[in-house]
Symmetry: D2
Subunit: 393 residues, 4 copies
């Protein structure tokens, strides 16, 4: 039982009818019983927003026409929200997050942090200055077996990391371009104005970039990219190959696409070390595979005694009870709840290296997007990634 | 968004500190936002019960010393609970469930329904007479891909069903018998007084029995069993092989054990038909495999367009976003919420053949346990299972 | 390089046009270069026999009209065959094998050894008396990873063996009964006169029975069986479930069928021990999986350093170079060649417990068939298997 | 039965004690009984060569001190060899192959064809001029399920090919550099003089390059590469990432390494089309997976009715009888035997697009190596691959 006496009062911006990722955020809030959703600006359309509120059990008096109103009004209440979940399209993440931070409200924001590197840096500084919790939902890093992988790399099980090969090769946009507008999600993600020409790099690229950093513990130093549009007529890039050079000499590659016809989810990571290698695949998230040079391939089962304490902390039931996508959101929300609850007592929470992703991760993600864009534009030239040293890794 | 305007007010009996399956029940309540947990008798120890209430956000005024008090008091309130979740050890399921049914409160009860066939029949009759919803949490039948399997069998994709091979071969109790008392769960499940000598048949056997019936759509007519204790010194049976004859001529077998060293969960089902066969494994719950005679083995991915509407209704996010154990509980709780909400309007809910398990399933499960016991006691003689025709299948 | 200066001169009885398993026997002879096929009675039809000889490079002067002629004539030659491969239908195994043994010629015989227990015992005694090598091609026991499994059980890696669960659930005869006569193989295996009513028990049952004994090292003491015909109109049994009790107390079950629609091969074995469990599946023969109680599932890869010397001896190339069905035959033929070559020097070869299967295995296999038949006929009564102690295990 | 009346008389250059790939070549010759190994120059050491001959059953009179002597002497005999298998280190492939071609003897040569592009072109022209069969043993293209993949791409099942992602990430050289000299194979492959600095590109890169072309049917137009040495102290490259652009617009990437710690074999290919995608993995060679956009993932089982005639022709036993690495060599040798046998009758064999690899494939492979080297030397600049149009693809 992880629940606390007083659930964290939270609001949501975005997540009205037809919303996608909001489902995961709401499940993340609910699963462990540590949040109460009490306010929202669910849609720009007032009627849709109220409809959502009714379904979600949010009192109509705390449904707002705009996020600005919501931030101001909630900040003024004694029982106002302590945190906000931002689940709008990328382009508005900056404005929304900034408004709530300025009113002293913690932020849990969907990725990518913004669609612009400068904005991301500004949010980073603002959150730091305010001493507020800012959680970026790169949820895959909150799977128990991903955390297990990160623990094992850091304690040296794999020896020196030599290669990092990642892919996020989804098939959701592999169809005809005419289908791009079939639903709300597809429509904005394939619109160069809303999603940017680099769409898939923001959407899927920042995930695999974060996951690779999170597990390997390495900083990316340089990359060379080939970006393309493989579905005829599409107006944004939908495929990228990226070659990678990490600090310390490790090499690697990413394959990032939303057009891998028939793919299930397509997210996987391999880290090759001098002593052993590991593989994690999102299609089978409760397992982690370690390959040893003597011809033993060992699968670590979530919930077994062989897993680390860090992974055990993310396991609700135990061995043989698969936890999946929604549980990874719940894990991030639970980490966030612990941090936010600590702030209640005026304690600035210490964030460990394997804790929830934050603004620093967001900034590094946007650096990655920028570097891919520049390299592709320069016909695959290697691009150095200027490490923002004050952010750490 | 499956949420409704007014969440169902629910209470819980059992589920105090150290409880196991209560975690799944609470997640099942929370995930879709359709329940509010507002009352409980979480433990026979009053202080432990209050502690649980604090963590769960239940008001102290609605924490009860006994389930009898709780049933009476809640039934008397205008805002009393509409339903109760029963998560105590098997032996008390009958008494608790009866008390709430008699006070007009719907019941969601962990399996097996009782530890005695007569009691099970009595609950069945009581629920029918009262017109109340009684949900038995054979949760595996609420996995999207299990429902998909059941749909495909019924629409004839497999042709005539010829064999049904199932197993629930868990390894949780494969260790030394001294470990049987290590934790609360293990202690009662390996105590012949609390769990019965047939322990594993109640605990795991009723699950695979229900799953086999649910997917195949067949009634079990007769069985022959070999029951054993493979961990030296243990006082209950921990292993069983059972041969099966189904109505219509299909044959099959179950392997049921809690001593399969190193097993992850160990639940799987295969149904062999004249046209095709299917396999579902709990370790990989979001996939269903169909084998065709021409050497094609087809995996149906949860969330894809190839799945039926019935499976789509149990899918929260979509293709590539694995849903697991807790989601299966949430699916049952969501089915239950729909039925309970219908009763609010005085409508007696119609239950379709693939809906949540109920008292009839509970009775059939106990018939199975009895038949296994009798056959094993008679050195493996075939035992007919007297079909309770009024229950249907 | 396993080849020797002088390949073993071998003949073949059966294996004419349309033959099935003869292909595997011939590949087994050829792969390691230790045999020269120099004589044969490939078919009862003289012209077909000569046609086969031409394709196989056998000189016409050594093609015989009958196996009796062949045995006599080859025994009389200075350069006569040293061994014969018997690949005729089951019913003739006894007569053919007896003829060659009596002429002092070693025998490599396809399984089952005969279709009659008394005949099998007679062959056993004859081979013993003559001091000749008799190899029964239960080829699965010659897969490197099956031998690895047997080694690991014997050296105690699994602790005490508690359960043995096996299945050979093939789908080759899952179609309509009209297809039973489609080809030569199907025709005799579904004809009660040629294959016996217990067809599938002879054909697939003896394989899983041998494999279970080979890996577990346990003697089968008693069984209870349910035998059925699941394809309407078929005249032989095509499906069986068998419950097993082994010496020392281990329990188990077999599922044996030729009607598992869509199955690939369907042969697999699990051995559950007090310390660990193992699984081997024929669809993935170069891997062996060990499950440990702490939630680690370890796959041993053929050719890696972790495999035993016994498995390494059956590995031709090394890690990552899959060896399959034909290689398992070549392994048995290579074991046989070593034994036969030893006899050249007048040395009676010592046969280790993990070496090629022989007449004793054949006799035990037929005991298993008889016990299944008797139990099924007695409505599933437990049948003791009279251990033929002089045979060992 | 694929055997012919008169086996093809073949000799071997290389393949003495300690040899690696010669084992596969010899198995390839033997498995289907279509070759007789009758001559050889197995080692530069005369005694070792004679020892090998004794083990292989080659008459001492046809063991030669040099390949030059062998080519001349065998060409002069009435019963001289019709073909030679060349299994020496890369650097001598050119000289050996040339000698035999000039004497009118067909060549079956291990890959890569040579270590120099000009030499490869010279062999190509010589073989064409002489009208001789030259088979390059890119054996993976002779797996039944790889041929199935190629057939399905060509008949349009996948629609337009959009991406081609391949990897050959082996772990054989992942250890400490001191182990590089542990055995004969490792010693020459990590010696820059014998293997070239680009070692892994010749050894593994040419395989994945051929496999990608073979299955996709596409010509590689340009590439950009990052080449590195990840094992400290090693004197050759052991890791490469390569980005790919194919004729017609498809994109892709290769990961090529011999230092993927713990890898089993590491060869796999994915081809993404507009209608469906396919995956083939060498660890599971008898299966081919097709992913469809509607969430069905279909595995084609070797030997089933769903496979094409082309795959059926490479299947010896049938469904459920795994064929592996040695069988792929046997398939190439069998294709070669058909072509060589045709030449006996003075017919120049027509080679279909999916037949055995030849000198043209060898030339294209070396172009690939050259392009990788040049791109890596130019810091990853894109390199055009000048298509040798007369070679076709």
């Amino acid at each position: 039982m992880k629940a606390f006496e007083k659930p964290i009062r939270i609001g949501m911006v975005g997540g009205g009818p037809g919303a996608g990722i909001a489902t995961a955020h709401r499940a993340g809030m609910r699963l462990d019983g540590r949040y109460a959703l009490v306010a929202g600006a669910f849609s720009r359309d007032a009627e849709k927003s109220r409809a959502a509120a009714r379904e979600l059990g949010v009192n109509e008096s705390r449904v707002y026409a705009s996020y600005e109103d919501m931030a101001a009004a909630e900040a003024a209440r004694d029982d106002g929200i302590e945190a906000v979940a931002v689940v709008t399209p990328n382009a508005s993440h900056y404005g929304v997050s900034k408004a709530f931070l300025e009113h002293g409200i913690h932020v849990i924001c969907d990725k990518p942090i913004t669609d612009d590197l400068e904005d991301a840096l500004a949010l980073h500084e603002l959150a730091e200055k305010k001493g507020l919790v800012f959680v970026l939902t790169h949820n895959y890093s909150a799977h128990a077996m991903v955390r297990e992988a990160a623990v094992r790399v850091r304690r040296g099980d794999l020896g020196e990391v030599r290669m990092v090969q990642g892919e996020f090769a989804s098939g959701w946009a592999a169809g005809q371009v005419e289908k791009d507008t079939d639903n709300k999600q597809a429509a904005w993600r394939t619109d160069p104005v809303q999603a940017g020409e680099a769409s898939v790099i923001y959407d899927l690229g920042t995930h695999i970039h974060h996951l690779a950093r999170y597990v390997s513990g390495l900083s990316l130093e340089a990359l060379a990219a080939d970006v393309s549009t493989v579905v005829p007529g599409r107006r944004v890039y939908d495929n990228a190959n990226v070659m990678l050079r990490f600090a310390g000499g490790a090499r690697g590659a990413f394959w990032i696409t939303m057009a891998a016809t028939g793919a299930e989810h397509g997210l996987s990571l391999r880290v090759i070390g001098s002593k052993a290698s590991l593989t994690w695949c999102h299609e089978d998230p409760h397992h982690l595979t370690i390959a040893w040079p003597d011809g033993r391939r060992e699968t670590i089962l979530q919930g077994g005694a062989a897993q680390s304490d860090a992974a055990a902390a993310l396991t609700r039931i135990g061995l043989g009870h698969p936890e999946g996508f929604l549980e990874s959101f719940a894990n991030i929300y639970s980490d966030a709840a612990t941090a936010i609850a600590a702030c209640r007592d005026g304690v600035r929470p210490e964030r460990g290296p394997l804790d929830y992703p934050n603004t620093a991760d967001g900034v590094l993600g946007l650096q990655f997007v920028e570097a891919v864009r520049k390299s592709a534009a320069a016909d695959g030239q290697w691009m150095d990634i200027e490490t923002i040293t004050t952010l750490g890794c």
